[in-house]
Symmetry: C2
Subunit: 506 residues, 2 copies
């Protein structure tokens, strides 16, 4: 627990603390009292809140494997009803369904919330604790953490936000804002049906009433910094498939490798195609026209990055990533500019022919490269995909299938947006000056909110800490022993404060 | 059963048939009578002989997975003792053990035999009948076949040869030649310890007494041709491993793909390295110096290939391989010249990052290409490996690990060698004019016999038919309904005849 907000304070102390820690923007002592009353519920219900998260993690919901999705969707809906949403509806799509919910608090302002209820795949053999056990483990230097798939991405922070809503319910206090909620179940496969879900008239109409959108996310780093993301890169995930069938050359089934003397190889064909996608430096995207739409970083964005780079630790970043050098041996500042400003063409996976232990003398009829492309303004997913296809055709690889599985445009939100200012205010009252970061190098489908459909600001908010998204041993801090990060309860209290801030800020 | 040798002939008929079908080279009527007596045992013991093969196939022995190797070696030894070998010894090596055996028939001539007791890996999901069930199945147009891993490569033909030896034993007749036998258990992983096994003084001394070496192999094609291979390409199997650890660039563990904006990618590094290994045509080996030692096909070899190409069916070959065009759109004759005369650099497999269904946004710290290189005279495995390493270093990929798992030099045997002439004689008496083929495009470690160590001729011999080596649904014909190929019993009888021929030919 953080020293400024010890667990053993009485309710009266909490009200006083809320008032002392800086008043909410433009609000009354009555509101501050309400907030403290709500926050006081959280410590009382700690066990129940953590058990809710454990139950959630123990229900795998992996869209990529269509595993536990029906159960995962139903659980999401039950948790929303429990948390006080008046309307909770399953939204069918051509893929996994979405969940739409509304909570009318009779407030003047309405805020949109984005959740995902799916998680990434796992290889259980790589985990120290089974990925769906949701075990609570003491981690030296951190405290008590929950280990499991979805711990930080995204069930942990989402459950923390639900704990905040449950605190309103059990305290009998009204929310300071109305909520419009959407969850999708395909975030980890590139949100292919999220537009379809959002374009349902009922959903779209509800979101049009919102003043902004946020997604719960634990933004505290171990180095003591917190970050507000003003955007995120877009992404395309796809497979390039080279096959004898489509090529009309090479074999149509795996044959003995000796025949390669007289037969073309779809695997070599794929290697040659891939080789055209990056420049001689092995890194710079070389898809024709791909970089044409890149809007260079603005002076304001560069200033933000410069400020951030000063506060962040290069050594810590290198250690976390296991790297000795940044690409092209650029310095820390430039590496951060690349993270925010550079589109990428990345190989996620290579699969061809014999992939088991040792060798097997086959000439494979098929080879696959799994790619993800990250996009910055003003690139779009649609145009980037078209450019890739045109590039391959022009270079003599038009037979190679380009199978996009998901993706979307970049997203951007101005730094003076309501949701950003509210987040800033809450962090500052906690004594933290948030780093404004122009664009997350990863992706989330915020474009659906910030783009032409809704033109709403959208960002992430949250205290707390976790790590290992998409990796083994993903964790989320439940009880912190690290002075730089908060545990579950304090993060939930900050969601309460954030909702009050959203209700009161001008 | 072939019309010329029906199953229901009496023993006397068999003797007559043997005499009628053309006399053995330089041999007596007494020898012909012995041969017929031995051959007559084979039909009588058909069920037992096929059961022996089924038992063998039901014992997986996969060196690449170290699966069932001890049991496979022990079974090999038991079968040799049963077949009449007086000495049967396990030969330890740094890998899987070999099996050395001798059968002293008091004959003037000694012949070497090469067996392998390991088989290739399987993916059972690809098989119509489980690969270790050894099921007998009716196959339209072929007859009764045995389906299983090792059916044709090599347990089926080896069991057929053992049936021939068992027929000598049960008939009480002496073999016309002494036998020196060696089996290895690592043929399918490139025979890495075969030289070590052969260089054991006891083994080497025994083989020095041999007039030649052969390996049982069913050489009948469905188009009615039989082939004698006068050699085989050499091979190197290896993995190229690109990793952040060895490169000193890129991550040392799989990290989120968004970080590719600022981090080098070992997967791209591998793609660029691979791309240098073949020419712009996507096929011609481009490893520096790799082609320098290639001895062009001689006029005699070209004449053999021309003759073979006239007898073989291009349409059948294309259908079997599932190809529409030969490489560079060469014609049938040239495709056959490539098969015999061209070294190759083949990608067997690609494995990197996420290889499961769908995508996973990782930047892999490691990517692997599995290659096999086929070598022709006067290339050597040692020099070719050195050239590959030097090439990679020169092109800037010296950090990429080159892990050779096995391989050896090409092998060649003159067409007037004893084992070749004996094989020709047996095929011709069966009414088949064998195609002399200068060099098998695949590989077997015949170099150990034909090279400087022993300088012995070595080839394959056998009637019968099977297919699907290294592939799913590998089969071997047990009872033929196809006029172009023999079944198990007749193939065994031809091994008996071959042994008599080896004993009598000048």
């Amino acid at each position: 627990m953080p020293p400024s907000f010890p667990e053993n304070l009485s309710r009266r102390d909490l009200i006083a603390a809320a008032l002392l820690s800086g008043t909410l923007s433009n609000t009354s002592a009555a509101a501050a009292g309400d907030m403290a009353a709500v926050q006081a519920e959280i410590g009382k219900n700690h066990d129940k809140n953590v058990e809710r998260l454990q139950t959630w993690i123990r229900q795998p919901s992996i869209a990529a494997e269509n595993r536990g999705m029906t159960e995962g969707c139903d659980l999401m809906m039950r948790m929303l009803s429990e948390a006080g949403f008046g309307t909770v509806k399953k939204v069918p799509s051509d893929g996994q369904p979405g969940v739409f919910a509304t909570l009318d608090a009779g407030a003047a302002r309405t805020i949109g919330i984005y959740f995902m209820y799916d998680v990434k795949q796992v290889d259980p053999s790589e985990w120290m604790s089974p990925p769906f056990d949701a075990a609570l483990v003491d981690r030296p230097g951190l405290g008590k953490v929950l280990i499991g798939r979805g711990a930080v991405n995204q069930k942990g922070p989402e459950a923390t936000f639900l704990a905040a809503l449950n605190a309103f319910r059990t305290s009998g206090k009204r929310l300071p804002v109305n909520l419009v909620f959407i969850a999708e179940g395909e975030e980890e496969i590139g949100s292919p049906h999220f537009p379809q879900i959002m374009k349902r008239p009922e959903v779209l109409e509800a979101f049009r009433k919102c003043a902004g959108v946020f997604m719960p996310m634990p933004m505290q780093s171990l180095d003591g910094t917190v970050t507000i993301n003003l955007g995120a890169k877009g992404v395309i995930e796809l497979e390039l498939v080279s096959s004898g069938e489509k090529w009309g050359r090479g074999p149509k089934l795996d044959v003995h490798s000796s025949t390669e003397a007289a037969i073309d190889s779809p695997a070599w064909h794929l290697i040659q195609a891939l080789n055209t996608l990056v420049a001689a430096d092995g890194h710079t995207p070389a898809i024709e026209g791909f970089l044409d739409d890149v809007r260079p970083l603005t002076p304001d964005e560069k200033a933000m990055i410069r400020n951030a780079a000063q506060k962040e630790s290069e050594a810590l970043a290198k250690k976390a990533l296991g790297v000795e050098h940044w690409v092209h041996n650029v310095d820390w500042l430039e590496s951060r500019e690349l993270m925010a400003g550079r589109p990428t063409v990345n190989i996620e996976g290579l699969v061809g022919g014999y992939t088991g232990p040792g060798g097997k003398t086959v000439l494979p009829h098929r080879a696959v490269a799994k790619l993800d492309l990250r996009l910055v303004p003003n690139m779009t997913a649609e145009r980037s995909l078209a450019l890739l296809k045109a590039h391959l055709a022009k270079k003599g690889f038009g037979d190679i299938e380009v199978n996009m599985s998901g993706g979307y445009d970049p997203t951007s939100t101005p730094k003076d947006a309501l949701v950003v200012k509210a987040a800033q205010a809450v962090y500052r009252r906690a004594g933290l000056e948030p780093i404004l970061w122009p664009r997350l190098a990863g992706s989330w489908p915020g474009y659906i909110f910030t783009g032409d459909l809704l033109k709403l600001p959208a960002t992430h908010f949250g205290m707390g800490h976790g790590s290992g998204a998409h990796a083994p041993n993903e964790y989320y801090v439940i009880e912190s022993k690290n002075k730089n990060v908060e545990g579950f309860d304090e993060a939930a209290r900050k969601y309460v404060e954030f909702l009050f801030e959203l209700g009161s800020i001008a």
